[in-house]
Amino acid sequence: MLELRVNGALLEVPEPPVGRTLAETLRDDLGLTGTKIACAEGHCGACTVQLDGVPVLSCITLVHSVGDAEVTTIEGLRDHPLVDAFVRADALQCGFCTPGQIVSAAALVAADPEPTRERVRHALAGNLCRCGAYPRIEEAVLTWRD
């Protein structure tokens, strides 16, 4: 068994095979399908989760490397004000990239509650959105506390 700290709980998963990613473990073993896999090679940001508050790409993070770091997924951020801000600003269309966007943005606003436009763009440049909700995402993050 492997122990993982996820969204404030200590969870056990059957000993994963070597090479299993954190994203696969979250989705397939723990049923936390809010974390999306869109490229599976670290290029798009859809799978973003936080490890001890730092955004990482779970599709290229080996689950064995997580150790006792606290994993925060979108399921752990469901009541974050950013969720309302995203809906209010219409910052999503198909929504497949959205959990990753919110996880990245949550790490940003935790570090800098009043980020500048430039800082938002820098922090979210690794989260691709093919629908092009970007201007609304920017607005959502800039107005997350409204």
Binding site: E41, C44, T73, V87, C131, A133, Y134
Partner: protein
């Protein structure tokens, strides 16, 4: 009474005649222009929280007991013959439950015609295991010579259909009387949809019914195609898509992967997921094909177009269709003499697929850039040139437009266009600034058949039921708004159940900017039918005449000022419900239903490095009545951003020697990021089309991507004097165009 109507149906510019059945009364008067209580007012997405919180279940998230995973062996060659295929070693790997080759499934190929064509597939208890097993499939490949050059393909007669020829008027005569003739060759690249959710489905047999969970734009199309292929009664195929992660035209049919999944489910007796990887996505799920466009325009000195001539080569690929690249030249301007010739080259390259306004994005780039070259030669303002050639009716067949407010779009564009001197003046050092514009024409009228039901319960809440799909455009929300408006209900008392062919009536495709104009009128008719029943019940209950009653703000309102809460009336039903049914009526006979617009771009070009930045883009579109201004703005912005990617960064690259696709990953294929987004100004005229349905709404998904490339490239010309004629505008292309412009200037300055 059911009425059988013969009507013209249009999807993405392809017209067919078909029978439709319209039941009930779709001929309700349109609402007055302007916002109503709910329609025309910004509404946040009904499913926004579910999507944002990661609670929405996409096809990628569907988990079923006993589910196994398919992996597909794809041709590494652009053209090859499979001389031997041996699956036995793959089948021996522990965890593998099935393997299939071309003998077992019609989509698997023995003579693959493109890099990525499916050849064999394996199912195993995990995707990782299935991929491991693929490496054990023994294949004896014989690589064959690939045909990759579209012009060469046309010369050799390797084409998808006979060349399309079109001519009206006297083109040669038109050129003879022209004061100015310009000609140029334009090229557009192959671009990839790259929806965030890759193409995939999960299939399982449930008794005698095949259940198909699929990321799709067309639930009913998938159902019918599978039923036909498997020779099943259509209702024994149930197609489910509650949430889907983007399509942009690439998810209109079942796809190879679904048939592979079905074959493996048949072989193994297990539910099967067949999901493409990102790399497969970039090989084998379609693309906006490359084009070559040789264009010529003739005009009188006052700017009147007297002749247009276009020869197009669509690099279709191994399969697909030759799109309407010629459309804008034939339709956008009032030119009597027009000729086009269009070839669809069959190549050893991945098949194309519809991609957001297929053909028109490419064709508008060519035509609208040529028009600016013409304006420069005529020393005429580009916006004025377009006004002078405005088409008041369809030049091809003389039909009137159901509505057209392009001149109003131009009028509103004036304010953005007038900034160009100021924009140019902000040039500094090597950074030159300029402004360009381009017009937009596209379809988007939708059509029948489309059906919806509206159920009202004793609690006075309504549910819209229809087996349509919301592909991320906000259709759920728009449909709820329409039903709420018609029933006089606040939006939070309306739900929408969609996404399941077994749980609702037939709904049309979400492609061709047709979801709102096709489905919206059916939803309104269904809500009106339910509303009529409520009024009839209230009239009997309260002994008043029906004609004095109306539904407003959750109440049945009497003209004398009295009112009853809706739930008091519907409460009489106890557990029963009122069911309203609605159908989409036909489009106006003898009219052309189209969308129009104009975009104005400001760019900054670094003439030393060739870097191009789009700084601002104003988009003004005429798409009829706007249901949800909030969602509509998002659609327009998203379209522009895809257009910016198409113009500046996106390109599928192929090795010219082998035909292998080089850009298979999202670090090689450059999608726009949040850092690449210009300032955007979105203006929708919101003028209902009086002739179109009970709503007057047209579609909005595609219009905003149509003129973007041309507007940007025309701004580049304004900034630098350079004629970019090939997309994407890489630094290489930009520097080439700048060098060419300098050379032209040098020759012009040199003494004769």
């Amino acid at each position: 009474m059911a009425r059988l109507i013969r009507t013209e149906k249009e999807v993405e510019g392809r017209y067919t005649e078909q029978w439709v059945v319209v039941e009930g009364d779709d001929a309700i008067d349109q609402w007055p222009r302007g916002p109503g209580a709910v329609v025309g007012r910004p509404a946040t997405r009904l499913d926004g929280h579910q999507r944002a919180r990661g609670q929405a279940i996409y096809t990628a998230d569907v988990q079923l007991p006993g589910l196994v995973h398919a992996a597909v062996l794809r041709s590494p060659f652009a053209r090859a013959r499979v001389n031997k295929l041996d699956l036995s070693r793959a089948l021996e790997l522990p965890g593998v439950v099935g393997a299939i080759g071309p003998d077992d499934c019609h989509v698997l190929q023995t003579e693959p015609g493109y890099h990525g064509a499916p050849v064999a597939a394996v199912a195993a208890d995990s995707f990782a295991r299935a991929r491991e097993a693929l490496a054990l499939v023994e294949v004896e490949w014989e690589e064959l010579e690939a045909l990759l050059d579209p012009e060469e393909a046309v010369r050799q007669g390797s084409v998808h259909e006979e060349a399309r020829r079109y001519e009206r008027g006297d083109v040669d005569g038109g050129f003879a009387e022209a004061d100015v003739v310009v000609e140029a060759e334009y090229r557009t690249q192959t671009v990839l949809h790259n929806s965030m959710e890759t193409h995939q489905s999960v299939v399982r047999w449930e008794g005698d019914t095949l259940e198909v969970y699929i990321s799709t734009q067309y639930i009913w199309g998938v159902r019918d195609a599978i039923a036909r292929t498997l020779e099943l009664p259509p209702d024994r195929v149930r197609v489910i898509c509650k949430y889907m992660g983007g399509g942009f035209g690439s998810k209109n049919n079942p796809g190879d992967y679904t048939y592979i999944g079905i074959a493996l489910a048949g072989r193994t007796g297990r539910p099967v997921r067949c999901a493409l990887t990102r790399r497969e996505e970039n090989l084998a799920t379609g693309n906006r094909n490359a084009t070559i466009q040789r264009l010529r325009a003739g005009a009188r000195s006052d700017g009147t177009l007297v002749a247009l001539d276009g020869e197009y080569v669509n690099a279709v690929g191994w399969a697909g269709w030759s799109g309407p690249t010629y459309g804008p030249v034939e339709m956008l301007y009032a030119c009597d003499n027009v000729r086009t010739l269009t070839h669809g080259a069959k190549l050893n390259l991945p098949p194309n697929a519809a991609f957001r306004a297929p053909g028109f994005v490419e064709g508008t780039f060519g035509l609208e850039c040529l028009l600016d070259e013409l304006a420069a030669r005529l020393e005429l303002d580009p916006l004025e040139l377009r006004r002078r050639n405005h088409a008041d009716h369809d030049l091809a067949d003389g039909r009137p437009f159901s509505s057209k407010n392009l001149l109003e779009c131009y009028r509103r564009a004036d304010a953005h266009w007038a900034r160009r001197d100021e924009v140019r003046a902000r040039s500094e050092g090597p950074v030159r600034r300029g402004t360009g514009l381009a017009s937009q024409i596209w379809y988007g009228g939708g059509g029948p058949p489309s059906y919806a039901w509206v159920r009202v319960g004793s609690d006075g809440r309504a549910t819209v039921i229809t087996a349509m799909q919301d592909i991320g455009t906000g259709s759920r929300t728009a449909m709820a708004q329409i039903a709420a408006e018609e029933l006089g209900l606040p939006l939070d008392r309306v739900r929408v159940e969609l996404g399941d062919s077994a749980r609702g009536p037939y709904a049309s495709i979400s492609a061709g900017s047709s979801t709102t104009p096709s489905m919206g009128p059916a939803v309104r008719a269904a809500a009106a039918d339910a509303g009529r029943q409520i009024v009839e019940i209230a009239a009997q209950r309260y002994h008043v005449e029906e004609r004095v009653l109306s539904l407003q703000d959750g109440h049945v309102v009497n003209a004398d000022g009295g009112s009853w809460p809706l739930e008091e009336v519907t409460g009489l039903l106890e557990d029963a419900q009122i069911l309203g049914k609605g159908a989409r009526g036909p489009n106006p006979t003898g009219m052309r239903v189209l969308t129009f617009g104009v975009q104005v771009a400001d760019v900054a070009v670094d003439v030393e490095t060739g870097e191009v930045k789009v700084e601002r883009l104003a988009a003004i579109h005429d798409v009829g009545r706007v249901i949800n201004p909030l969602g509509a703005r998002s659609q327009v912005e998203g379209g522009i951003i895809q257009g910016v990617g198409h113009t500046l960064s996106e390109e599928r690259l192929v090795d010219p020697q082998t035909g292998r696709v080089l850009t298979q990953t999202l670090d090689a294929y450059k999608l726009p990021t949040i850092a690449d987004v210009p300032e955007m100004v979105v203006e929708l005229l919101d003028i209902p089309d009086d002739h179109l349905t009970n709503l007057g709404s047209k579609g909005l998904g595609e219009p905003p991507i149509v003129p973007t490339a041309a507007a940007i490239v025309n701004a580049i010309r304004d900034a630098t004097g350079a004629d970019v004629r090939s997309l994407p505008v890489t630094r290489e292309e930009m520097l080439r165009a700048l060098a060419e412009a300098r050379e032209r200037e040098r020759l012009a300055a040199a003494p004769a």
